[in-house]
């Protein structure tokens, strides 16, 4: 009963948040501001799912989040094209500390720790390390290589799921494969962020 009460209170709060966000969206006239407000609208929808508070909720938030981010990215692309902002040069980051050697050490530590953690979280940590590495060292276009690594790791991940489904006796192997697959996948995807600062400037 008390759980149900907590759920209802949480639901009420989320709906109030959604109502405020929608109200803001209605009175805001500037397109860019509306785009930013949309994120505020998006969060309550994830909140409603999160309120379930079960494993299922965790499994549902991820696709919901991905779809939401995809929509947001698509909309910002349209905004950029629509307002003719494409010609404007994007400035790369120029932070002195990052260009020193310290980030290299940090990135090695992060990668090692990430690999030990493995799985999704490990991928995140190690990915952060790779981001540091790219930011510190600059990069030549390794996109094809990264894409390939990402593709292969994804294939490993999917294959592991097939093992789970069809030959469950080998669950331990499948578990390791899935963990390594997702680790590589998340590392690669995050490292792409490190290489995405502006055009042509390393």
């Amino acid at each position: 009963m008390s759980m149900w009460q907590e759920y209802s209170i949480g639901l009420l709060l989320v709906f109030i948040a959604a109502a405020i966000a929608f109200f803001a969206l209605v009175i805001e006239k500037d397109d860019l501001h509306r785009l930013l407000l949309l994120d505020l609208v998006e969060v309550p929808s994830l909140g409603i799912i999160a309120l379930l508070g079960t494993d299922l909720a965790e499994a549902l938030i991820l696709p919901g989040l991905v779809v939401g981010i995809a929509e947001l990215l698509a909309l910002s692309q349209i905004y950029v094209t629509k307002e003719g902002l494409r010609e404007r040069k994007v400035q790369g980051l120029n932070i002195e500390v990052i260009q020193a050697d310290a980030p290299l050490i940090i990135s090695v530590l992060l990668i090692c720790y990430g690999v030990i953690l493995s799985g999704f979280t490990g991928g995140g940590v190690a990915g952060l390390g790779v981001v540091f590495y790219f930011m510190a060292r600059g990069h030549r276009e390794h996109f094809e290589l990264l894409e390939m690594a990402s593709g292969i790791s994804w294939a490993i991940w999917i294959f592991a799921f097939f093992v789970f489904m069809f030959i469950p006796e080998y669950w331990l192997l499948a578990l390791f494969m899935a963990a390594i697959g997702i680790l590589l996948k998340v590392i690669v995807k995050m490292s792409l962020v490190g290489t995405m600062w502006g055009d042509g400037n390393g």
């Binding site: 397109d31 949309l38 549902l60 929509e71 909309l75």
Partner: protein
Amino acid sequence: MGMDNPGGIPYFILEFGDELVYFSPYTVSLFILALVFTLFAVIAKPERQVDIVFGGDAFYAKETSLAELKFRRFMAIACGFASMGAMVTGDLFNFTLFISLVGICNVGIVAAVKNRHVQNAAYQYGIVALSATVPLFGAAALIAATTGTLSMVELWSNASLAVPLVVKALLVLGVMGEGMAPFYAAKAEMFRAPGAPYVIMCSLSSLLIFLRVIEVVLVI
């Protein structure tokens, strides 16, 4: 517990654990239509829209560039796949995901057109589609919270599971926001974008998901 077999008796139900797909006469016919129009999008060359001066003789045909064609064809095919998935899925959360995918693809199909009016319409529509994910995902989560399952077959066969009317209304509201052609006037502007087989996917997918959500609401 909904009405008995609103879309006819299911031919068969395909289960991958919790993920299930079910084929009733209704879902199969909608699925086939989505498939047929997706095939059109794959093989058809785009139209060359003719603009005329009304009351005069002047006219010119717009050409679709190859890059634009490729992108829009990709989006149209993705949209076709998403609507095909939404037609036959038996899992409510997957259904909402497919519908939001249809929403993005609809925006993508028209956004490639380099025309300020069309882009504006696409942007405004995108804002509506994105904010419609709140009632859409909210409804799916609330159904899971009140009944403990997301499977349509479970909800349909188990008489003790009742989905509140408000939640059904939320689901319909979400679908309307994602792709309801008739209720979003700016989409008419989107439909004037050149490139027939691709633009037609917008209106097809929105009508299909509307038809499916009626069945879903009746079933659960």
